[in-house]
């Protein structure tokens, strides 16, 4: 027994904002969040699956042949594991400036 009471999960209703102490406000996190663009050079990719298997944020999925697909680029934290471990130099991760508009 841990002696800790499990707190009932309180979920804010849809559409409402809630300030969590210690966490950056939405405005702050918006400013701090960096965005990245990802390019796969398909001619060189051998579909080994290293990038999609080790991505810490599960940004990369696989297509039907096992090739990488950047499914959730907005979750990318820019660790560059995929770029560093790609044996075929087929992935490029680029940090986007704050002025970039549109989808990443």
């Amino acid at each position: 027994m841990t002696g800790k009471k499990k707190r009932p999960a309180v979920r804010p209703e849809k559409g409402t904002q809630r300030n969590i102490p210690g966490k950056p406000s939405e405005k702050q996190s918006e400013r701090a969040k960096k965005r990245y663009s990802h390019t796969v050079f398909k001619d060189w990719c051998k579909k080994c699956g290293i990038c999609s298997s080790f991505c810490p944020k599960n940004v990369i999925g696989q297509d039907e042949h096992g090739g990488p697909v950047f499914e959730r680029p907005e979750d990318c934290i820019g660790c560059r594991f995929c770029e560093l471990h790609c044996p075929d130099f087929a992935i490029t991760v680029q940090e986007l400036g704050p002025d970039t508009v549109g989808d990443v």
Binding site: K46, G49, L84
Partner: protein, 275 residues
């Protein structure tokens, strides 16, 4: 860390060669090539100041792809060619890339004596625990009990530890890294190239086709997970009890000492002899 890693690598590749490279999908050799290029770029050396020599095997293809002064030599003799280059032109930065069989079996004597002589070279030894190119025969580093094409019922010989062999043979700098721990590997290669004296970097790599498939690690991901779970950094290993460290290998700098360098000693001899 540079902002665009892949762009940097392309600066050093010979794009007129056949790409994608010859290695199997997920092969550690590609990761090591990237790491070597990043390390050299960080050192600020130009392409003409570097000589990259290799022997035979999968690792032997590495100099083909990079735009340095390159040599693809005979089996096990990368270090002998490199020693010759270094003695003829000590201003060059000479790096050799060898596989585990190339360095410790066919070129085993060259390896220990290059370490003993302390020629100012860098030896990068890719240890994938098997002869990959020739079809998966066991090499001097194939672990006891594992399977290979020539050991279908389990290997009965015991494995060399390349890094520890290098320390004993007298190398000035010895490091061990893996292809999973790429950032540590970048630093190790950079430190090894900078080191004045014979420096060895043993890199645990994955041959999932010839070694992994026969040992229940049939893809690069399981082999990299094995590296992640079975390696301990030197700093951590010091604090761990020795029974926890059985079956595990240490990564990081294993030896680093200052010794007189062969080329400099040779110059002194020539002076003494009144050349």
């Amino acid at each position: 860390m540079p902002k665009e890693i892949t762009k940097l690598i392309h600066k050093y590749l010979r794009h007129d060669k056949k790409f994608p490279h010859v290695w199997c999908p997920g092969c550690g050799n590609g990761v090591i090539l990237g790491s070597l290029i990043r390390a050299i770029d960080r050192l600020g050396l130009t392409k003409d100041e570097i000589v990259l020599a290799s022997g035979i095997g999968c690792s032997g293809r590495m100099p083909v792809y990079v735009d340095f002064n390159t040599l693809h030599t005979t089996h096990g003799r990368a270090l002998t060619f490199a020693t010759g280059i270094k003695l003829a032109k000590p201003s060059l930065t000479v790096i050799t890339v060898m596989g585990d069989g190339d360095a410790t079996a066919i070129g085993g004597n060259h390896f220990i004596h290059a370490a003993r002589r302390n020629v100012n070279l860098t030896a990068i030894i890719i240890n994938n625990q098997i002869y990959g190119m020739t079809g998966g025969q066991f090499s001097p580093t194939t672990p006891y009990g594992s399977h290979a094409a020539t050991a279908p019922y389990g290997h009965i010989e015991h494995a060399f530890s390349i890094a520890e062999l290098a320390v004993t043979a007298g190398a000035a700098f010895v490091g061990r890294g893996t292809v999973y721990h790429v950032q540590i590997l970048d630093k190790l290669i950079k430190a090894a190239v900078l080191k004045r004296g014979f420096s060895v970097v043993e890199i645990i790599s994955n041959c999932h086709i010839q070694f992994g498939r026969r040992n229940e690690m049939g893809n690069p991901v399981t082999m990299m997970e094995w590296m992640r779970d079975n390696s301990v950094t030197v700093e951590k290993a010091e604090k761990m009890p020795s029974e926890d460290l059985e079956d595990k290998f240490t990564i990081g700098i294993l030896a680093d000492e200052e010794k007189p360098i062969y080329t400099e000693e040779y110059d002194k001899i020539r002076e003494r002899a009144g050349d």
